[in-house]
Symmetry: D2
Subunit: 350 residues, 4 copies
């Protein structure tokens, strides 16, 4: 940490900064410059609160040099984390994992049907919301536990692993009982009681970036999960707030290489929420793979125009098929490949 | 709702939009224009999901005309909502209410001492965090229930009402037992299970705007509270995300007159989190009152340089005194006045 | 300047940074920390380009400690700059200066009439566009030089000083011939040839903040003016881009106290462009004064509904009168006062 | 255009809106809804100023249905515009065009050397700044006309076409004398006198998106060029302002498919300015091609660490070679291919 003094700072003011740092239990090292003096705080273990120094007389600004996250950082662990699911899908290695499915689970017919279609087209993970966080209290809020039951049936019928969202600490346990990956949604990225409970779960966690979260905040939210002992964490870029209204969000694909250099955790992209418009999903899904994403989460609905939520951003199954063909080519440019498809499962009940 | 067609849209495509609207149970009214046709959806009760229409062939965009919030709107209730606290403070009427106190409760001495000082200076509501949502899992997270006990003692000693934050649904009940106002923090503005539980409480709720929430989203989050039956809701502008790093957030004071024209709910401002810098708190507190805020929430610490969190944005008590003097003058320009100060309470234990 | 090394940086990489700094003609001082090493660059005169260091192996980031602006900074000149106009108006001292008038000059009757009204109500500076930068090439682009002639007549008739915008380097000379202050609009804040020409003029310059300019960029744009020798510079906050569509821009009033602590230059606010909505102009004008603005620029039109541009954000004259009354009260809270009103000028032609 | 009335709007207020629309010369059509009435303005030719209607009593908001740009829109011209350069490069068709080179022209050796290297690696257009817009007046501002002369020599030596920036109206003519494409930089996207002059030129224009320009504003800026008669316009996404400081800008790749659906003009991406960090340029260049960009503009410097500007974002030549290999593969996934490479030109002086 570096405490930058004003040009007009007196020796007394500099002395006061040094004393304060020492009173906090760290070493202080003044660094005289041509225009101004700075005081280095040596020994920062990532827990120093800069506020106390910022408020001192003569201080221009406090610059944090050490990064506040630890276990998520590549400096903590150099090699890539790879999350492995029961059906063999690996997320974070050389392979690119595809999660697909409808925004919300609506019926057994819908979810089992789409899961079988997706398996045939090469996806290995099924997405589908049972608990839906909706901006308006009057919108469809999901089927709840019944939705979880239907997701489990779709897994049995298709072999796909299941990822679905938990909205509150109690929900984590419920979701963990049915799903292979617990999703923490963008609105809950800084819901710390929820993160703590998910960090205590033994299931992998998919953590979506908040609507205006910096990459540092995303990594610190993941740090909550690792600090509780859960290292199976997958990050997800899904678009941030912007001033342009042509798309629902602004998909920040640069976050992918940035995260991969700062952290060992895998990161995927969600171009469906990231754009909010069906015709933009395919180009941005391709772009995410080209940018180095470890996977995609894409909304696919057997009949988007009848969807109970987010229909306008869901692909038709045939569009998803075309996307799979395109990203298979693109992944070669990065010397990667898609997660191998799953075999047809044995008929149910046998 | 208005479905705007592309110039190139065929009669068939327009017909398909009309049919879809009718299948959804509403009336469709095509409006031919010079450049393009639009189709009005008549009878929207605020629950129409535009997604299904956006996905249809030939559709350029869907424009939502009716507003999705109901009970929070001025069209629902024209007169201002006034929230009244047990100590007589009214929020939302002609008077301007002042909430002040440290970021976090640290000790009995600290919180009782500052409460007495603040009462003397004219505040009538004490703020102080017992449960602190912190970006890093390694930062001080608050005293928990012990903090709530100390807040109650400070109320007894000073007469100030107490506002403090709840972080999860279970916490709502606990906080409601000790506090006069339950605070929902910016990070939890779209934590719907938490909002629902707070909506079921009988205590007033202070709802802070999320870091990148639109005003519409803020009002929809408040709608969750009213939809559960709690009409004692106070909104709070506390700064939004911006590209400039000179201040922690960008305090959006225009939100105050905008909210007051759209909604009957009171709205206050938090210039401490809204700027993050002590020297900017006083000017922005003055500006908030001049913009029409129904109150302020200001961090004041007896010894900011020793604060366990957010010290750099806390006012010294004498700075708070000066601020009170200034806003007393400013409120006259709007034909308003500060909430009258409280009498000294009877000595404790008597 | 501080070059922060990765934890994994080798001694060779640190040595390479030291060598590069020395090759650039500066002193290098390695600062070992607990987690990582940083290398201080001593002697930065504000002209060091960090790019060359950022690209070196083992470098995590480069932190700029010295500020790149010079003559605009308070460290360069401690006392406030006060700009004085021919009619005696002072901008930047204890007094608060009011600029008002229509968005665009439309006719002699309009501009002379409104100037007289505004003088009577207490304004001392007339605004009005002769050259209008419009987002669409098909919108009204202003009367051009004829507009300047009409502004000069309005000055003669009312005694008000005149501020109007120049759009290109040639326009600067033309505008300077007629106006008392040359305005550089938000879209041109980084139009360097225009800034240079305005910096060579002997007229004061009003520099508006760009739509997404940081405060640092605003100050650096002003530095272009001072570097050419023009020290009569007035800054103007007029709202920045945001994700919320309720207002045209997000008026960043915190910029006012931030600029006043970093720079000696006066800063005013434009709540008309800053909000874009008539009913929000008055509250935000009050708030700007309360935040410490040295003046206001407000659109007032004798008949806003017939205005050729920006009518919806123009105040009616009677609304302007009420605003003047309110800010007169508010200025007292800051121990300031409005610029004294002007006497009625002698009848024209006498 | 649709004028949405408040629920409380009286018949008189609705009548006033109808009258105003008719006084403006258009047809008004009231559309009663379940919650509120809206009034459609029929016959909008794209020149209606909504401000006059927004200010009327009882009006909630005005929604613009027709788009204000004309000649740039796909509704005006359905087929893709293809810009063809003297050396045969086509931009906007099936082929992907690569512009590469240093940020600034520094010397004959530098620019001729890099041009030859780039030709060998497959680029067909050389970029390099002669006039540099710099945030600080104290930074290197380019070689001026001498830089243009050197660019012309590099073209002669390599066969590459040349693109370089003009900063003001006079500069347009000068740049047009030497370059094959006139670049309008991000800071000047709304510099209308500059756009007009470039629109009168017979050279193709590369128009970069402003730092916080919406896509609509970008298209309207291009409309200025087409309105002056220049249809050879290439748009360029180069990143927008964001709250995250990990990258210099936030590269908005979704703008590419959005522009391609709204307009017939070609659009390329500049991942160098769009990220500002060398290690992020290659992934984002790949992503841009995958998103459907018609080309790339990439900074390549023979010795980035010695560059006079923007060295930290310039690729080493060998990195550029690797990028070319990767995008050749990616373009196949979209059924596209790179512009064919140029033959070695005859030795100079022969």
């Amino acid at each position: 940490m570096l405490v930058v003094m004003k040009q007009s700072a007196s020796d007394d003011e500099i002395g006061q900064v040094v004393e304060t740092i020492e009173a906090m239990g760290y070493d202080a090292r003044p660094i005289p410059g041509k225009q101004r003096t700075a005081v280095g705080l040596i020994g920062n273990d990532g827990r120093v609160d800069s506020a106390r120094l910022e408020g001192l007389q003569g201080v221009l600004e406090v610059i944090v040099v050490s990064h506040p996250y630890k276990q998520v950082s590549r400096e903590w662990k150099a090699e890539d984390t790879v999350v492995t699911l029961p059906n063999g899908t690996r997320i974070g290695g050389r392979e690119i994992a595809i999660m697909a499915g409808p925004c919300a689970v609506e019926s057994e017919e819908q979810i089992v049907g789409v899961a079988r279609t997706l398996r045939r087209m090469g996806a290995t993970i099924l997405r589908g919301g049972a608990f839906k966080p909706r901006t308006s209290p009057y919108s469809f809020q999901g089927l709840g536990e019944e939705g979880l039951v239907l997701l489990a049936r779709a897994r049995e019928a298709s072999g796909l692993a299941v990822v679905t969202e938990a909205l509150d600490p109690e929900g984590v346990e419920l979701v963990a009982r049915y799903a292979d990956i617990i999703q923490i949604g963008a609105r809950n990225m800084q819901n710390y009681p929820l993160l703590r409970r998910a960090g205590q779960s033994e299931k992998p966690v998919l953590l979506k970036r908040g609507m205006s979260a910096t990459i540092k905040e995303l990594l610190l939210a993941a740090e909550y999960l690792l600090a509780e002992g859960n290292e199976q964490v997958i990050l997800c870029e899904r678009g941030v707030r912007s001033f342009d209204t042509h798309t629902r969000n602004l998909l920040d694909l640069t976050a992918i290489p940035v995260v991969k250099s700062l952290s060992h955790l895998p990161i995927i992209a969600d171009p469906s929420h990231g754009t909010g418009i069906r015709t933009k999903v395919t180009p941005m899904a391709r772009a995410a793979v080209a940018a180095g994403a470890d996977g995609l989460m894409v909304e696919v609905h057997p009949d988007p125009e009848m969807a109970l939520s987010d229909g306008a951003q869901s692909l038709f199954p045939e569009q998803f098929q075309e996307l799979m063909d395109q990203i298979r080519v693109i992944s070669r440019a990065l010397d990667r490949e898609l997660v191998p498809g799953l075999p047809e499962p044995a008929p149910m009940g046998v």
